[in-house]
Amino acid sequence: MPHFDVNVLVRLREGTLDPAAEALEDGLSGLGFEGVRTLGIDRRIRLRIEAADARAALASADRMARELLANPVLEDYEISVAGGERA
């Protein structure tokens, strides 16, 4: 069975208060960087999935994201085959 490397990018949903991003802005501002906003500190989960083809690997990663990797109350996710196709 071939395998495919899949990236699952998990990020806070738009409008969710992100204290970590605010802290990062404070840190950057302390170093003298001005005029910069943190848009997000995302989490990238890299998976190697055995599947018949890339489409099946993406479908499987999508189920994993819905069932565990992202919490829909807080987060959105995006899935892509490493170096290629997006879901």
Partner: protein, 233 residues
């Protein structure tokens, strides 16, 4: 009365729950692991605090999918009382047994202090020992206790009276300065729509022993035991 206390790797507060049940003389606490398939005839289930599975990914996320949770879900479906404390509350939200989610505190600090809680519902099996509107003191200890939910979920749980405890000032007035983590609606505890599953961020089991501080948590456990005694008659 038999209490099942579910301990996952990293659930370090199981011992506090056992201590509370022991000090209050409320029966037998049996500690079960996350891979248990049966609750062994428990009359009440407690998911204690801690950092289950290292809180990796999100607090409670991995524990919520552990084998024992199928039994906990079935126990709740049959109307059995399930109490989630701190990490246990996070687990119940992650398992979809309670609405909303708990995430990083507004000020990103670990908060560890006694807090005032206004009792919003004094008619649940967990809260019959309190008066409606009474202000009680329990300790909190968490970094990810900010309750959030989608606006329509928040509206629903408010409308249906599922908010059980709110952070307040000592007089019971809601005041942002007394909301230690920035929770929506100052929510500290939420129940499911049937009222038999309760999640609380503060620790009632750490407020039962006069040698250690406030004792307002005791009435939660004694109320549950009283309800159980009533049901056995």
């Amino acid at each position: 009365m038999r209490w099942a206390v579910i301990r996952f790797p990293g659930s370090h507060c199981a011992v506090d729950v056992e201590h509370a049940i022991d000090v209050l003389r409320l029966g037998e606490a049996r500690v079960l692991r996350g891979d248990a398939v049966s609750l062994e005839g428990a009359d009440a289930v407690v998911l204690p605090g801690g950092f289950s599975h290292g809180d990796y990914l999100r607090p409670g996320a991995i524990a919520a999918r552990a084998p024992v949770m199928a039994a906990v879900r079935e126990f709740a479906r049959r109307g059995g009382p399930v109490l989630g404390i701190c990490n246990g509350f996070q687990i119940l939200c992650e398992a979809g047994m309670l609405p909303g989610a708990l995430t990083v505190n507004r000020r990103r600090r670990f908060v560890c202090q006694d807090v005032n809680l206004r009792v919003e519902r004094a008619d649940l099996p967990f809260t019959r020992g309190y008066r409606p509107g009474e202000v009680i003191v329990w300790p909190i200890a968490h970094e990810q206790g900010r309750f959030v939910a989608e606006p329509r979920t928040l509206a629903r749980i408010e409308d249906q009276g599922q908010v059980v405890l709110r952070y307040s000032d000592p007089g019971g007035v809601l005041d942002d300065r007394f909301n230690p983590n920035g929770s929506a609606g100052a929510i500290a505890g939420v129940a499911n729509d049937r009222g038999n599953v309760l999640g609380v961020m503060p620790h009632p089991e750490r407020a039962v022993d006069p040698r250690l501080g406030p004792t307002d948590g005791a009435r939660l456990f004694t109320a549950l035991a009283d309800v159980w005694v009533g049901s056995e008659r």
